[in-house]
Symmetry: C2
Subunit: 137 residues, 2 copies
């Protein structure tokens, strides 16, 4: 977890001014434990919390937070971007029917034998996504 109190210093360290919008979005993101949000979800939450923020600013903020390593972007759906408040290396369940994303807890997935990267490249990340269908087999 990344307490909201750390956010202010993190923003400063990244040269991001702690504006009303950024602080409010940070509060929504980091006050409730680990979360997976899309821009649209976060914008809707801000609206219901009576925070006036444009969708464009939500997009900007999500990307700035990602650059500041407060968030991690997760690619599971070619039509939407997800952002994860848990930036530690870990993996995901993706519920295909509902579009929900969930962390796979702890070390429940282990990738053994990671291959060495092709010459001239470096491994940025190793991501495991387990796609799930709702309903039993």
């Amino acid at each position: 977890m990344r307490p909201y109190s750390q956010v202010l210093e993190r923003l400063r360290a990244s040269g991001l001014r702690p504006t009303r919008q950024r602080l409010a979005l940070a509060k929504l993101l980091f006050d409730k434990g680990d979360r997976h949000v899309t821009a649209e979800i976060l914008h809707a939450e801000a609206m219901s919390a009576n925070i006036r923020v444009s969708l464009a600013t939500v997009y900007n903020t999500l990307h700035q937070f990602t650059a500041a390593k407060l968030l991690r972007e997760i690619v599971v759906d070619s039509s939407r971007s997800y952002f994860d408040t848990n930036t530690d290396p870990h993996h995901h369940f993706y519920f295909e029917d509902s579009g929900r994303l969930a962390d796979i807890p702890g070390d429940q997935v282990v990738v053994a034998e990671v291959p060495s990267p092709p010459a001239g490249t470096t491994i940025e990340s190793v991501e495991v996504v387990i796609r799930l269908a709702e309903e039993a087999a």
Copy 2:
């Protein structure tokens, strides 16, 4: 590898008429070994091969082939869809700078300890993507 010769029967089995466009696209896809294409790439290839196909038909065909299990869709980039002619379970390197996708050969990645799926769900697939940055560390 899935020889082109099997395609015709596969199409019939899926209730897809072997039209000029579908056969030509199948030839492009399956005659050259394992491939990773986007709709735009395949359309461009068809154009240079003097095959008259609209982009809309390329999209339709890619989805129909995917439904017929001749292709597998790979999600690595939230702005483009990739299709893989290798439908066997396997994993991928993704070259973030160039947008290229490559199979990780054989058993060079092993996911040990796949967690059991949450109640009421079935595992559809386990996908590993190793994201690569070009240039050495």
